[in-house]
């Protein structure tokens, strides 16, 4: 699985943890909002990359375009000067729509800094 150019801007990498994709984002000035904290948009971007990676993983070898329909992001804690990890969990993968919940955390996955629910339109290659 290759990540889009935007993942390079965020400075994130993909790791497989127990066979499932996790996206890892080091802290840096390029993702900071208010001093010392991650910008909400950078956290949302990380969640988005994780959600798309989860859909790509679920589609496996199938060729498809994944178009975002909407996203609802909840910010639970400030993102501090630590590595942030994110993973998407597929709630439902249908013929046309994928619903994904993505979670971002720092030290403890049970204490998320943000989560998002996202809907994607799946356009599968025909023929």
């Amino acid at each position: 699985m290759t990540l889009p150019p935007y993942a390079g801007l965020l400075g994130v990498t993909l790791e497989l943890v127990d066979g499932l994709p996790e996206i890892v984002m080091p802290f840096g000035h390029h993702v900071v909002g208010r001093p010392g904290y991650l910008q909400g948009g950078a956290i949302a971007g990380l969640l988005e990359v994780a959600a798309v990676a989860a859909v790509r993983h679920a589609l496996a070898a199938e060729t498809a375009r994944i178009k975002p329909i909407n996203a609802t992001v909840d910010f639970m804690r400030g993102g501090r000067d630590h590595v942030t990890r994110a993973a998407g969990e597929i709630t439902r993968l249908g013929a046309r729509i994928a619903t994904v919940t993505a979670v971002a955390w720092q030290d403890d996955r049970a204490r998320p800094i943000a989560s998002a629910r996202m809907n994607y339109l799946i356009e599968r290659a025909t023929g």
Binding site: Y6, H29, G33, Q39, N70
Partner: protein
């Protein structure tokens, strides 16, 4: 000190030592009027989410709308207030056009002591044909928002 939304937006987005993520994305102040403020996101290859189409990823659009709606709260309060985004909902009404600048327009609907309610749109030239619509809420993190006339 008099409230100057242009100076505030430029300070936050265009001062290298301050403008972390927004600076990396290349966002800059665009315009403001009574009850609204706009931030611009120029297209750049780094922002692409789908290499086949060249369409900008949704992350930079959310970052743009987070900044635009945040500025809209301060614009309504006519002062800076330390706050954090509580939640943000975005609907992608249509794809952004590749290589086109995206404008994020934020409006603040109401400010209570602790919470500010906003909405916004992203467009690429015509506000009547938006790319996305957004609803975001913020919470004051150090004390309260000032009293603002309804």
């Amino acid at each position: 000190m008099d409230w100057d939304p242009t100076a505030m937006a430029r300070y936050l987005l265009e001062t290298p030592s301050v403008a972390g993520h927004g600076g990396r994305l290349g966002q800059r102040y665009h315009a403001h009027g009574v009850g609204w403020i706009e931030v611009a996101q120029p297209w750049h290859e780094d922002l692409v989410g789908d290499e086949e189409t060249g369409i900008i990823a949704s992350g930079p659009i959310i970052a743009l709308m987070d900044v635009a709606t945040s500025l809209a709260v301060w614009h309504r309060c006519a002062t800076f207030v330390a706050h954090a985004t509580l939640d943000l909902r975005i609907d992608y009404l249509r794809p952004a056009r590749p290589r086109q600048i995206v404008i994020g327009r934020g409006e603040c609907l109401r400010v209570t002591r602790s919470i500010a309610f906003t909405r916004g749109i992203a467009h690429d030239g015509d506000p009547a044909d938006p790319i996305a619509q957004v609803a975001a809420t913020f919470m004051a993190t150090a004390g309260n928002y000032p009293r603002v006339a309804a």
